[in-house]
């Protein structure tokens, strides 16, 4: 899928340059893509966990985003609560909503499709009730800065007085952060490799190992250099990176994470191997509620408003990302990394077409077709691999 993403990116780049619309890889556009798609990545991560349990989806996430956003708007903008207390309450509400769905799905065994369809209607209604059908705007700057600011934060004064110096500072700090990231990555990888060799376990070939590291570092540095030339590292990127890293580690390296795959791969076998499948299911949906709340907070900050129509069709973006990223519709296979790539793929598609000035009605139609093609490409390449 990674290759498909690169192909699509290059295709758009060629089209955009050819039609003289600038560049897909313009620094400000990269920042844009990240800001536009942060919520999709967060939701796709949670959705992947649900899909892993057996192709189960959560249709309610868009409505949860609206409802939690409504609570955030009411508490912070209308009732002037302490921002951190309000965030805590919002996350708690998300967890409770997720647990509510999880309870019916895991312990009463109502199909997830039905429970979350009910949730989709219920929480959308709740959002409308809380907001009385109106939009709350604007949000206080202090709240916005938590999600929409950049590192390093250059003051307006400096930007006005000495723009060159501000730019230079931004670029330098961004690159330093990137280089530090690369160094940490390289050192930890080499340390792990060394430990493996000492214990006599097999390791990948040195050439391949180095090539992989070089590629990773190159991607980090290139993205950083683009971001550095714009406003710096978006805070939301850091939040998303932490979430993705935590969940990638959870699904790949821990026992409970592995249970998700076992449940989706063969529920009966998992049960007879001592996995409490009900608990696994409950966790997946509770967690989805939690991540929906995180996405809601990010969305309120990005749009600087809490609207009852927020989050419409977000569940479809998240589900689409997972499947584009190689998750099986029957559960048991798929990775967080794949879902992230799927989310970026969708994001690039939107962004590229917008730059090209494609009519928004056409955009939807094209998106549908590309989705199908992307998955088809994946299925075909898997078939070829297995037939070898």
């Amino acid at each position: 899928m990674f290759i498909a993403l690169i192909v699509v990116m290059l295709l758009f780049q060629v089209l955009i340059v050819a039609t003289d619309n600038g560049s897909l890889f313009a620094p400000s556009n990269i920042t844009n893509i990240i800001n536009q798609n942060a919520y999709v990545v967060i939701l796709a991560t949670g959705m992947l966990l649900c899909i892993l349990t057996g192709g189960n989806i959560d249709l309610s996430v868009g409505s949860i985003v609206a409802f939690v956003g409504a609570i955030a708007g009411t508490l912070i903008a209308n009732l002037h609560w302490n921002i951190y207390a309000a965030i805590l309450v919002c996350l708690l509400v998300g967890i409770l909503i997720g647990a509510w769905h999880g309870m019916w799905i895991a312990f009463v065994h109502i199909p997830p499709f039905i429970v979350t369809l009910a949730g989709m209607l219920l929480w959308r209604g709740a959002a409308l009730i809380v907001l009385n059908g109106l939009t709350i705007s604007p949000m206080p700057d202090k709240y916005l800065s938590l999600f929409t600011s950049y590192l390093p934060s250059v003051s307006y004064q400096m930007l006005n007085d000495n723009p060159d110096k501000a730019m230079a500072l931004t670029f330098t700090v961004t690159m330093i952060v990137a280089v530090v990231c690369c160094i940490v990555l390289v050192i930890s990888e080499f340390l792990q490799r060394g430990a493996k060799r000492r214990k006599g376990y097999e390791t990948t070939a040195l050439g391949l190992f180095i090539a992989r590291l070089v590629l990773f570092c190159a991607v980090i540095l290139v993205v950083a250099s683009l971001l550095g030339r714009d406003k710096g590292i978006p805070v939301i990127l850091i939040i998303v990176a932490v979430i993705v890293a935590v969940y990638a580690y959870y699904t790949q390296n821990t026992v409970p994470g592995r249970y998700l795959y076992a449940l989706g791969g063969n529920a009966k076998a998992a049960q007879l191997s001592g996995v409490n499948t009900d608990h696994v299911m409950f966790f997946a949906y509770t967690n989805m509620g939690f991540l929906s709340a995180v996405a809601a907070l990010a969305c309120v900050a990005r749009f600087n408003s809490a609207a009852p129509t927020a989050g419409t069709n977000y569940e479809m973006d998240a589900i689409g990302s997972c499947f584009i990223g190689g998750a099986s519709a029957y559960g048991g296979t798929g990775t967080v990394g794949g879902a992230v790539i799927g989310a970026i793929f969708m994001g690039v598609l939107n962004n590229g077409m917008s730059i090209l000035g494609v009519d928004s009605n056409w955009q939807k139609a094209v998106k549908g077709l590309v989705l199908l093609l992307a998955v088809l490409f994946d299925v075909m390449s898997k078939k070829r691999k297995s037939s070898k």
Partner: protein, 511 residues
Amino acid sequence: MKHITKTFPGVKALDDVSIEVQEGEIHALVGENGAGKSTLMNVLSGIYPFGTYSGDIVFNGNVCKFQNIKDSEKLGIVIIHQELALVPLLTIGENMFLGNERGNKGKINWAETFGKADELLKMVGLKESSHTLIKDIGVGKQQLVEIAKALGKNVKLLILDEPTASLNDTEAKHLLDLLLQFKKKGMTSILISHKLNEVSYVADKITVIRDGSVIQSLDKSKDSFTEDTIISAMVGRNLTDRFPKRVPHIGDVCFEVKDWCVDHPVFEGIKVCDHVNLKVRKGEVVGISGLMGAGRTELAMSIFGHSYGSDIRGHVYLDGQEVHFPTVKSAIRHGLAYVTEDRKGNGLILSESICRNTSSAKPEKISHHSIINFDKEREVAKQYVKEMHTKCATIDEDVVNLSGGNMQKVLLGKWLFADPDILILDEPTRGIDVGAKYEIYCIINRMVEEGKSVIFISSEMPEILGMSDRIYVMNAGKMIAEMPGRDATQEKIMACIINSDKGVQAAAAEA
């Protein structure tokens, strides 16, 4: 059918089988589970199309080359499988003409459908309206609906695969009488059954199949056949060195089950295990013999963390101490392991690698605070692949690509990794070839030599006899006999089962 040979990858299921069925007779096919009866009938009814087997099917003098079931049904050959193929939420009438609808040009003639259905139902002695939903009638009546459905297809040769397996005695009697009645009208039937009393009641001829070959054909008019002669024909093979030898070192009782009762999970009040008692000693292989559906799997699963059934009562003792296993995890922690009967359905996770399957029953052993140590996991998986002689490219290969025997070895490895003291093996050799079977027997021997105990459930009597130190015979949810391995014979075990069936029938008759 002449000289039919059918091979599956790695297994010869039928080896040069010829049978002859005269018009208007009831021909019984008997044999142990896995002898090849069902395979033979699947060949005859076109489920295995022409070309996948060698030999000829001759029907009324013509050689037939069936490509599918439709072809054979056109000639009036209809098979009724053990698992009924009815749609529960459709009416009897709709089911009877499913795929064979009355009417024309895509429009169904409901009046004709239900009218014809009622007529056919009367022929099989069912009083239900054809508008009744299938789910609202019992299994016995569903079986009759299947027969009525066959009659609707103008059946000339009816094949019944274990038709009475899930019926009670009155229902079974009714069904058999029906067959006799149809015989008088000139219909031919082939009956697969292992209930020998039924066979001797209705059959004109009996063909005994064992290991994919015809052993004996008996004719009621010429030979006198008793249950004993059939039994010895069914099982009479000599046990040479198909089983690796071991010197038993049997210790004290380490595992005991007392008064174990389990109800069916759906039908309340039906006991699948009825006051079962079981003792296992250290270093002992205990065989549990019985026919399919005797309740052996249900017993094992209900002990193993209450994985089956409802209203489970009884006591389990480990080394004299009473223990409770309300969950699978607790059972594993106490040193129990249950190697499931159906390795694909509920044993292995097919979409995952050998490596990940191997560690799945006890992930604590390869992880620290729930964080998995991949190197350790790979090392363990490699060790078991080596010990079990599993044939695979790498341990990262997905289990789905392995053959049955190798899958079974991965499954065994997975449970040995869980360090069991008591290993319950449920049909561990089903569907795998002789070589892999031998290796699995060797693994069993190694287990008991290490002082562990094995409970060995199998429907293949020779292996129960060849492997067990002590044998329990189970039938209809009850332990009906216990005998030392060296005294046991197939005849004895069969006789126990048949006597017990008779006991039940006698009790039913008295009631």
